[in-house]
């Protein structure tokens, strides 16, 4: 079993199975470019730095990849019907502790950075689910976003919204 070391932005090392990393488009490209798959290459001696991903986030990403080991990897653009996507129960429980928090957003950003399409899709779906049927102020309150708008700006947006298709 080939292990590849991932180094987070806070210098934490995470040895990960080579098989798991196939889900990440970014890392897979690196592995191919660095010839880490060659038997002659000592993969353990060549850690892959991920300066945009914190250690705790990377740990969650690896945890998710381990659970979804063997899942088919999406190729190209996501052409699935977004309305039909359902977040599985395990993933729902996985995202729930980070719901309404920066962790969830960071995980989503990490999925985007690492090009893990399935994780990005499910994470975005989970975030969008929290927006369902809620108004802007309600979303602001739940996500802890301060109101940046003046009353005039809010009124203008409201009117534009009424006339938008």
């Amino acid at each position: 079993m080939v292990l590849i070391t991932l180094v987070s932005s806070d210098e934490q090392n995470f040895p990960v199975e080579r098989e798991l990393l196939k889900q990440s488009g970014t890392i897979e490209t690196l592995i191919v470019n660095m010839n880490l798959d060659d038997e002659d290459t000592d993969a353990a001696a060549m850690p892959i730095p991920l300066p945009n991903v914190k250690g705790d986030v990377l740990e969650k990403v690896i945890q998710w990849m381990e659970h979804h080991k063997g899942d088919p990897v999406k190729e190209g653009d996501n052409e699935d019907n977004n309305a039909e996507i359902v977040v599985p129960q395990w993933d729902d429980d996985f995202f729930k502790p980070a719901m309404y928090g920066s962790k969830h957003l960071e995980l989503t950003v990490a999925a985007s950075y690492l090009d893990i399409k399935n994780l990005l899709t499910l994470s975005c779906k989970a975030i969008s689910n929290t927006f369902k049927g809620k108004t802007g102020p309600q979303i602001r309150e739940e996500w802890g976003v301060p109101n940046e708008f003046t009353p005039e700006e809010e009124e203008a947006i409201r009117k534009e919204n009424e006339w938008s298709e």
Binding site: C124, K125, F131, T135, R140, G144, V145, E154, N161, W163
Partner: protein, 767 residues
């Protein structure tokens, strides 16, 4: 010292690091619960935002715009083009009202303009569009009145706000206020409003509505109102509050048969309106089905068209039936007016052929039951006022055989009028149904001749089918009962002579005259005459220089027909021809014994009058055949009975509690002006009032709408009221006048007693 400073600096730095670490560990621990920094949302890369909003609907994306600037900036390019409200412009906005629903149609919109309807989806119960290739037809359905206040379009310009004629939104109740709310902020160039009889009273609310939508011109559809009338049948009881729509009658008439109403239309019938509502719902559903089928193409269009055709046809039939009912009511009202206006020596004569009487034997074999030919009996019912007493009388003309043609009727009526003339009748109004023998130009010509020659026939009105011949039918039932009684006594009724015998045997039916007649031959070469559109004429007035015909009783100026010269000579010719061919009878000749007894009725005939105990007068006439007559009356028997006129607007009340002002108001609207509490109620002791109760009753009457004139007759026992002394008049400040008179003891029925109380509310308001 320097080393100490360096150590101190490192120590402080270490403490600071520990503190930061501790804080970060706490932050890590409580991260899911603590609100994230706004920077987190701000730093979301565009592709992530796109991934998130890809799962959101339009409304959810719009809601995200107000979360933060970053999201607003990212979402805005991903929304369709926004059209400012000022650019919304609709050429036509059509309103249609279904029960509890408002249907809005915006035809032929350009796609950008159709986007303005998108916000309606929030409030509309249903919204759909139909693409016709270039333009979009938009339709929305709202619950109306709506549960919450909202406006349809903001700052939109509407060229024509059109209220549909088929399913109009009437100007009544809170409709205008609701519409004003829906169109708040809009500018309307032209408005079309539809009134019905009920909404005319809400005219005062129109100006403020038009101002609110900055309307420049307004169009009122008054078609329904102008030709709308509500009629109250004269009859009391369950139909007394039943009003009918007069519009179907008048809609297609020429101006001379129309009349502009001179009264206020302030009443309506919920039951009649319910019929219209049901039809409107059906038509509305079909209308919606039309649109649905066009939109998705799933509906069977052929079936839909058939359904539409059936609905239209059925609606037409129902309206035609309503028109028939209204015509019947108009005709009956006219009859009531004629009866009420009868003067001494005047009569209302109703003519009708009774159902043919079949020969019957007391004991009849089954083989003899079949193949019978009936004998004709013509009934001429007379409602007359003689010496200020109202009489009902029916003349039965019995024929062995008759073709029941117009000439037969002319001869019968001539004889009937001669009989009436002998009894002091000078002026007659004739009424019959629309049978061909009555609605005939030849008969009208004959009657015109009659009206000039002898008795004054002032008017001829026709009743509606199955309505208006009650007196004749009643008399016919008396006749047939008498015949049945005759056959039950083991006697046979095989011919006209035996019918006559049956009617005159024992005690004849009171208030009837029976004539055994023989009809002469009519000259078939007589000149044919015609009156234009006679089949649609229901009211004919005989004047000196011709006839004045109307399509409906008393409505319109009428159509004058003065050139009746071709008809004048006919009756004379008929009489002459009748003489010449009198013996060539069409029917079976009477028996010899009858001929011996028969002689014509003439004015100088001696009559035998027998007064009996019941104030009945019997008169027996015997006639014999005369060559000078075309209609030969062989025998005749008169039996007179007196009947009190029945006031059709009299209502019997069963309890004093019902005499509230509300009930009386309803009765007034129904045209009932006389209320009588029956003596049978008094006998049960229900009505026993004290003076206070009488005062309370009068007080309950005084809020009634003015002006009015009420004559209320109460037969009741009033305690604490001296006989014939109670009079009361309200003060003049209230501009009312109430007069109450209590008559002396009055005994309406044997064994009961009471007081007759007359309450009169003066109608006119004093200045």
């Amino acid at each position: 010292m320097q080393i100490q400073l360096i150590l101190l600096f490192h120590l402080i730095h270490l403490i600071r690091l520990i503190f930061i670490l501790a804080l970060s560990s706490l932050a890590e621990r409580f991260a899911p619960l603590s609100p994230p920094s706004p920077l987190v949302m701000e730093r979301l890369p565009a592709e992530v935002v796109e991934g998130i909003i890809a799962h959101l609907t339009k409304d959810e994306r719009l809601a995200l715009r107000t979360v933060c600037h970053r999201l607003n900036t990212l979402i805005l390019p991903r929304l369709p083009v926004l059209w400012p409200p000022e650019q919304a412009h609709f050429s036509v906005l059509k309103l249609q009202k279904l029960p509890d629903t408002l249907h809005i149609s915006l035809p032929a919109l350009s796609p950008p303009m159709a986007q303005h309807l998108v916000p309606l989806t929030t409030h509309a119960t249903r919204t759909w569009k139909r693409w016709n290739g270039e333009k979009i037809d938009c339709f929305s359905t709202f619950s109306f009145p709506s549960s919450g206040a909202f406006s349809l379009f903001e700052k939109a310009t509407i060229d024509h706000l059109e209220v549909a004629k088929l399913l109009p939104l009437y100007v009544e109740g809170g409709n205008l206020q609701q519409l004003q709310q829906l169109l708040q902020g809009c500018t309307v160039d032209r408005t079309t409003l539809v009134f019905d009889h009920q909404t005319m009273r809400n005219l005062h609310a129109i100006p403020s509505f038009l101002r609110s939508i900055s309307c420049r011109s307004v169009e009122f559809i008054l078609e329904r109102t102008d030709q709308y009338d509500m009629l109250a049948p004269y009859s009391s009881g369950s139909n007394s509050r039943h009003f009918l729509d007069f519009r179907p009658i008048l809609s297609s008439l020429s101006p001379s048969f129309k009349k502009v109403c001179d009264h206020e239309h302030d009443t309506h019938c919920e039951e009649c309106r319910e019929v219209k509502r049901v039809l409107q719902i059906l038509n509305g559903k079909l209308l919606e089905a039309h649109t649905v089928s066009d939109a998705d193409g799933k509906t069977d269009r052929f079936l839909l068209e058939r359904m539409c055709g059936m609905a239209e046809k059925s609606t037409r039939y129902i309206e035609a039936f309503q028109a028939h009912v209204v015509r019947a009511v108009v005709s009956d009202n006219e009859k009531g007016r004629i009866q009420a206006a009868l003067k001494d020596g005047e009569a209302l004569v109703t003519a009708d052929w009774a159902q043919k009487v079949l020969p019957q034997k007391a004991i009849e074999a089954q083989s003899g039951y079949f193949g019978k030919s009936g004998m004709s009996v013509h009934i001429t019912h007379c409602y007359a006022k003689i010496n200020n007493q109202v009489y009902h009388h029916a003349l039965h003309h019995i024929f062995e055989s008759s073709k029941q043609g117009s000439s037969d009727v002319a001869l019968i009526l001539r004889h009937a009028f001669s009989v009436l003339e002998e009894k002091g009748i000078t002026r007659v109004t004739l009424r019959s149904d629309n049978a061909a023998c009555y609605k005939s130009a030849e008969l009208i010509g004959d009657l015109y001749q009659l009206s000039n020659d002898s008795l004054d026939l002032s008017r001829y009105i026709y009743s509606e089918p199955q309505a208006g011949k009650g007196p004749c039918d009643r008399s016919a039932s008396h006749m047939k009962r008498k015949i049945t009684e005759f056959t039950n006594a083991k006697r046979n009724v095989r011919d006209a002579e035996e019918i006559f015998e049956a009617l005159t045997t024992n005690e004849p039916v009171k208030g009837t005259s029976a004539f055994l007649c023989l009809m002469g031959e009519v000259d078939k070469k007589r000149k044919k005459s015609a009156i234009t559109g006679i089949s649609s004429l229901y009211d004919i007035t005989f004047e000196k220089d011709g006839i004045l015909s109307r399509q409906h009783c008393g409505i319109g100026t009428g159509q004058k027909t003065s050139k009746l010269t071709g008809l004048f000579s006919r009756l004379e010719k008929l009489r002459v021809s009748g003489v010449s061919v009198a013996r060539k009878t069409r029917g079976r000749k009477p028996s010899k014994s009858s001929r011996k007894r028969a002689r014509p009725v003439s004015s100088d005939e001696e009559v035998v009058q027998v007064e009996n105990d019941d104030d009945q007068v019997e008169e027996e006439i015997e006639g014999e055949m005369d060559d000078e007559e075309d209609l030969v009356v062989l025998s005749g028997v008169h039996t007179y009975g007196r009947e009190q006129p029945r006031d059709p607007r009299r209502v019997h009340w069963k309890s004093y509690e019902k005499l509230g002002s509300r009930v009386l108001s309803t009765l007034f609207k129904a045209g009932i002006r006389s209320i009588e509490v029956g003596p049978q109620i008094l006998a049960k002791g229900v009505i026993t009032m004290t003076r206070d109760q009488l005062d309370a009753l009068i007080d309950s009457l005084t809020p009634l709408p003015r002006p009015l004139r009420l004559s209320l007759h109460l037969y009741a026992a009033i305690k604490d009221v001296p006989m014939g002394r109670y009079e009361r008049a309200d003060d003049e400040e209230q501009r009312r006048s109430v007069q109450v008179k209590v008559d002396e003891d009055w005994t309406p029925l044997r064994g009961t007693w009471g007081q007759r109380i007359t309450i009169e509310l003066a109608a006119e308001e004093t200045d």
